[in-house]
């Protein structure tokens, strides 16, 4: 039987960061994944390919917008095969790089499916055939998640896609329905709309991206109104059927009004569920809750002391950067360091156009908790940089504790919000005061100035947004 100090099951951004960290701490590490090289959903079927395609969508959008600046391009010719090649090249470059980093650290990569025999050993069904039994001192569960399905909407048809199928870019359909108004559906909807598909979105709740503050959603809604054919809120999909020209979808509005429409393709993006089945966890003391999440403590140790769990399988939010951080914490905990996963701010980014990003306390959370906060907003209409980009559809807001004047949360909507939020994360983690942001010189002309000017607004007025003195 082979032996390893640390077995990590799942080579996504949680698993490989944990593996690298553990190796750097001197551990002998075995990383088991279904793919030959690390990367996981994030690189193969998630963050990375979707961002590559969103970059294309952005370019197509700007080419159209340029018309009003006096630059005219011919309508784009889309070579779908070439686009797929480029996307695959991006993935290959990054996963190849990770494979090299694993090798440099002497992390052993095993391609296959792992199954716990007990609290200290695994059986691996190798992808190339054969089995291996592996004895470990510690294990980290990092098996991630997969697209969730709704049984009533399950239709065995190539016309019905999940996010993985949508990223495969089979074709560019004339019409597409996205079921689910969360970030995955809106990002992929944006890609297909840019490529020429008439995209509709149906969302069961009253708004898009439910966890985000509503004032951040408004500019996105205005943008989607132009890009998408239809956005149906407070609407349920009552049923779908394969028709001869496409998928026939029956909608039911909140008032009970029923309507029908046929779409060439349907993308089901109703969330993700953790991959906690078929791992042999029943042979251990690991506890899985009713939603399928593995229960873990602040160090990410499960009820089985030798086994840790990180990333999507260990609970919300299911985000790559949260998984990576947990992976490092778990590796350090196994090395005996006194560490815990205790962030003040986990940033969330929706890579639509405009992007939406937030971290720390949101205004709506503060409202639910009856927590007194002061919210200041700096509209990008007053930002010089936004004007030069012709993208004044943005907003930067700070959620501030009125007593300590500490920045508790930051929310941004606008182009590049995903990059800008990093300053917000730093501010919340460092317990920065509004005054600290105000007194830090931000480069001009950049969108980052909106963070500084929002902080100035807390004290009444800012250089580029005049608010008359009260009283």
């Amino acid at each position: 039987m082979n032996k390893t100090e640390l077995a990590i099951i799942g080579g996504g951004p949680g698993g490989y960061v944990g593996a690298f960290k553990a190796a750097d701490l001197g551990m002998d590490v075995t990383l088991i994944d279904l793919e030959a090289k690390p990367g996981g959903v994030c690189l193969y079927r998630g963050c990375i390919p979707s961002k590559a395609l969103l970059h294309v969508a952005r370019l197509l959008g700007e080419a159209r917008e340029a018309e009003s600046w006096g630059i005219k391009f011919a309508p784009p010719e889309i070579d779908l095969e070439q686009l797929k090649v480029w996307k695959e090249r991006v993935i290959a470059k990054m996963t190849g790089g990770l494979g090299g980093l694993a090798k440099a650290r002497n992390v052993r990569l095993v391609q296959g499916r792992a199954h716990f025999l007990d609290a200290q050993s695994l059986r691996i069904e190798k992808s190339q055939g054969g089995e291996e039994e592996l004895r470990f001192e510690h294990a980290i569960l990092a098996t991630g998640s997969r697209p969730a399905t709704i049984p009533s909407l399950a239709l065995d048809s190539p016309r019905v896609m999940d996010s993985t199928a949508a990223l495969a870019l089979q074709d560019i359909p004339a019409t597409m329905l996205v079921i689910g108004g969360g970030y995955i559906g809106l990002e992929l909807g944006t890609v297909y709309a840019a490529l020429g598909t008439r995209v509709s979105v149906v969302e069961m709740t009253a708004g898009l991206i439910p966890p985000a503050d509503r004032d951040l959603i408004k500019p996105l809604e205005a943008s989607l109104d132009k890009r998408f054919e239809q956005v149906l809120l407070s609407t349920k999909v009552a049923g779908i059927e394969e028709g001869k020209d496409g998928v026939e979808v029956r909608f039911e509005s909140a008032e009970g009004k029923v309507s029908e429409r046929t779409f060439e393709k349907v993308l089901v993006a109703v969330g993700r569920r953790p991959n906690s089945e078929d791992l042999g966890l029943e042979n251990t003391r690991v506890v899985v809750d009713e939603k399928g999440f593995v229960q873990a403590d602040v160090q990410r140790r499960t009820a089985e002391p030798t086994i840790f769990a990180i990333g999507d399988i260990a609970g919300e939010p299911m985000l790559a950067h949260k998984a990576s951080h947990e992976g490092a914490v778990a590796a350090e905990a196994i090395a005996g360091h006194k560490v815990a996963f205790e962030p003040n701010a986990i940033p969330a980014v929706v890579f639509t156009d405009p992007e939406i990003a937030w971290c720390g306390l949101t205004e709506s959370e503060a409202g639910r908790e009856n927590r007194a906060v002061e919210v200041v907003r700096f509209p990008w209409a007053a930002s010089g940089r936004a004007t030069t980009l012709d993208r004044n559809d943005g907003l930067t807001k700070l959620v501030i504790d009125p007593q300590t004047e500490r920045v508790l949360g930051v929310g941004i909507v606008g182009v590049g919000a995903g990059e800008l939020i990093a300053e917000g994360v730093l501010a919340v983690e460092m317990a920065a005061l509004a005054e600290d942001l105000k007194l830090s010189i931000h480069p001009h002309p950049t969108l980052s100035e909106t963070v500084m000017e929002a902080a100035e607004m807390f004290f009444g007025t800012s250089a580029h947004l005049y608010a008359p003195r009260k009283g």
Binding site: A119, Q120, R285, V287, F293, Q295, A296, D297, V298, Q299, R300, R301, T302, A303, P305, T306, A314, G315, E316, P317, A333, I334, G336, H337, K338, V339, A340, F341, E342, P343, N344, A345, I346, G360, L361, R368, E369, N370, R371, A372, D401, T404, E405, R406, L408, V428, E429, M430, A431, L433, E435, D436
Partner: protein, 417 residues
């Protein structure tokens, strides 16, 4: 959002207490600072105020329960907590494979409800040295916690740990096994009250730590009794009762000034004697819950009538269970007057960290041989127990004699006191 209200830190060395009364119910609205429970702690019943507001969804304690600091008291919904409440349990230490896990694991939560005002590096430092960051006071702008704040907190905890509690020191190494009393007749077991437990611990500590000497003397209080009756009206007018104890308080304060080593404590660890420049005197009060010792402040700065009034008030407070823990702290010396009950004398036990205690027994007329004949005089038996580590026998004798003479001739109070 549901918020747990836990029993907060109630001050000096209080680890918990018995719930005497629950003042709120499930479904009621609770506001910050509203009293939630009455808790019988270190010799006092105190009302515990809420630090949360919202609707109570669950009560985790009932009358008679013993609760400790940090224990869940109630849960409120829709409320907000003004003070950060530590929610995270400490991470379990790496455990060997064979170890059974008995306690349920803390469940992972996506985000902590309280955003700690400390940089990630400082939070990690706190964790590494075993400090609960939510307990650290931040000295920076907006209450930001610095590295120095964490270290200062750690130092403070270390100091507190080095001074072990009386309870810890008093705990006998081995408890002798008790026989089965039932074999000789019917018995009833009752839980020890907090007052009884603490009294037992403190007295065991005093008895095993302090080398006691008790000296006895007698004061002729015939004249004093006359003056006491003469001036009783004045005290009554001020709202007090001119008791012998009130007068003895004043006399002892003067004696402590004349003999400063009796107003002192011993620091064996640092081999130092601590002399106190203040004069707070404890008075033992018999209550239906046991012995309580409220402390009268600045006795040297008050006249006897003021002391009489104050004594009446604190004794009443003690009997009404209204004494706060701080009302019983900071004493320099203790007076135990059993004269109201009877007896001809007793050897009291020193109340540490004090070094001496005065016992007063019942005064009685005795024949005293004076100027060739026996005359009836009102004689008050007094006893002084002291810590022989600090006080020599001759000093003890002089101190007690001084008190007797001052009681016989109060002019001494102004002359030397």
């Amino acid at each position: 959002m549901a918020v747990e209200f836990k029993l907060p830190d109630l001050g000096e060395n209080i680890e918990g207490g018995d719930v005497v009364k629950v003042l709120v119910g499930v479904g009621e609205e609770v506001d910050e600072d509203q009293s939630i429970i009455e808790l019988e702690t270190d010799k006092a019943v105190i009302e515990v105020p809420s630090s949360v507001r919202g609707t109570i969804t669950a009560l985790h304690v009932k009358e008679g329960d013993r609760v400790t600091v940090g224990q869940d008291i109630l849960t409120v919904a829709g409320g907000a907590s003004e003070v950060p409440i530590p929610e995270e349990k400490p991470a379990p230490a790496p455990a060997p494979i064979s170890e059974e896990r008995s306690a349920p694991l803390p469940v992972s939560s996506p985000m902590s409800a309280t955003l700690v005002a400390a940089a990630p590096s400082i939070r990690r430092l706190a964790r590494e040295i075993g400090i609960d960051i939510t307990q650290v006071a931040g000295s920076g702008p907006g209450g930001r916690i610095s590295e120095d704040d964490v270290k200062a907190h750690a130092r403070q905890l270390n100091t507190a740990r080095e001074a072990p509690s009386a309870a810890a020191l008093a705990a006998p190494k081995v408890d002798l096994p008790l026989p089965d009393f039932a074999q000789w007749g019917e018995v009833q077991r009752e839980p020890m009250s907090n007052v009884r437990r603490i009294t037992a611990e403190r007295l065991s500590y005093a008895w095993t730590t302090i080398p006691h000497v008790t000296q006895f003397d007698k004061a002729d209080t015939t004249d004093l009794e006359g003056w006491r009756k003469q001036f009783a009206k004045k005290a009554e007018a001020a709202g007090g009762k001119l008791t012998p104890t009130a007068i003895i308080l004043k006399v002892v304060a003067a004696a402590l000034k004349a003999f400063p080593q009796f107003n002192a404590s011993i620091d064996m660890a640092d081999r130092e004697v601590i002399y106190k420049k203040y004069c707070h005197i404890g008075v033992a009060v018999d209550t239906d819950r046991g012995l309580l010792v409220p402390v009268v402040r600045d006795v040297d700065q008050k006249n006897i009538i003021e002391l009489a009034v104050e004594l009446g008030e604190i004794a009443q407070k003690a009997r009404d269970r209204k004494l706060a823990p701080e009302d019983m702290q900071g004493g320099c010396f203790t007076i135990s007057n059993l004269g109201g009950i009877g007896g001809t004398g007793f050897a009291p036990i020193v109340n540490p960290p004090e070094v001496a205690i005065l016992g007063v027994a019942r005064g009685a007329y005795e024949p005293v041989f004076s100027e060739g004949e026996f005359v009836p005089r009102l004689i008050m038996p007094l006893s002084l127990s002291y810590d022989h580590r600090l006080i020599d026998g001759a000093e003890g004798a002089r101190f007690l004699r001084w008190i007797c003479e001052a009681l016989e001739n109060p002019f001494l109070l102004v002359l030397e006191g």
